[in-house]
Symmetry: C2
Subunit: 243 residues, 2 copies
Amino acid sequence: MIPRSHPRYRSLVTRELLAGCAKSGIVSWEGLTAHGRGEAFDYLLGEKTTDSARLAERIAAALLMSAHHPVISVNGNTAALAAPEIAALQKTSGALVEVNLFHRTEARVQQIEDLLRSAGADVFSGKAERLLPLDHDRAWCRREGMYSADVILVPLEDGDRAEALVGMGKTVIAVDLNPLSRTARKATLTIVDELTRALPEISRACHDLTEEESRQIIASLDNKYLLSEAIRAMTGRLNHALD
Amino acid sequence: MIPRSHPRYRSLVTRELLAGCAKSGIVSWEGLTAHGRGEAFDYLLGEKTTDSARLAERIAAALLMSAHHPVISVNGNTAALAAPEIAALQKTSGALVEVNLFHRTEARVQQIEDLLRSAGADVFSGKAERLLPLDHDRAWCRREGMYSADVILVPLEDGDRAEALVGMGKTVIAVDLNPLSRTARKATLTIVDELTRALPEISRACHDLTEEESRQIIASLDNKYLLSEAIRAMTGRLNHALD
């Protein structure tokens, strides 16, 4: 048991949740380390949604709402951390939810689909094929799902895959706490925020935005500005850490 | 298998090493996440030893060499990442090596001691008692080991324990990639560097430093300066990331 007196109690409890999901197979072992990387960047953000992240979340909502074939790609960490938030966003945005894994086995795909369904998501799980231009199991997806998507939300993504999806002409929305990552720099739009804060904000904006507001906010998209604002938040916190 | 073409190949291979150690019990599941936090900060350092870290490593060597009863505290992550480097530092510094775990079971202590011994370390493993003022298994240590130490090297430490050791009047040398952590701020001396780079630098300095140089370098110790230099390296990298 982690003592409640521990100043990093919440962070440690989330780690235990993920460790439990690693034991059951939902989260890959390497996914635990990837989570830690995110934690460090979130710590630099002050563990809160910045104004620029909130703007990015509104643009994400506008992109999803105006898409013809929006898809939310879900991996093990995303399902473990935010299955209910994924289900809620699917309801407000009408996007397909499809599982895509870095460390892929049929059993893991099944487990993660089950977890998402039990949280209320309607999971798209037709026959998978190797359709993405990648030399790894991440290449697997469904022809009528991710492969055909025009707008795709990829939370906690791998840089290679984000780049491949952009190369296929898709609008890629990343949720990535590291504003320096390849994913962050290659995506069409990058939300530098923690997943369980970001997804409800996107859902809320899906409700709120009018069509006219959506058009305007999409036209304003400047990912380099959004990334530089995220970086500014982090350097600000670093600079004042020793005050 | 991770494809060699992956741009984060080395980092992913280290994660797989740690995941293997988690499967065998050496590394705790939460330890994998803690490693990820470190990775993120090392990424901000450019994954290299800065000048200020090298200075900190020389001061660490001087402190260990001039101690009456130096101890190196080893946890699961430290053993998994750097057992040979710990053994080498023990030889050059003459410090006791003692295992102290956050997620403590007798079986894990035994496994980690075995790993250290197989790497050539002489592990101190007398009877453990609850001697540190902490409400957790981290309180366990040996009376003739850590409890009696005047100088203690705590790589990859927990902030609570670092603070408790300082409170007991010990000189605490931390190795922590997060210059904002409580460990980093509470330690007498903080080395903001990756463990497998830091330990050989300390060993090298143990060989090189004369007694007079040691006295001078210890007198120069200013941990706040060292931390601010580490922060400066990180903000520099963040600021130029989008150039």
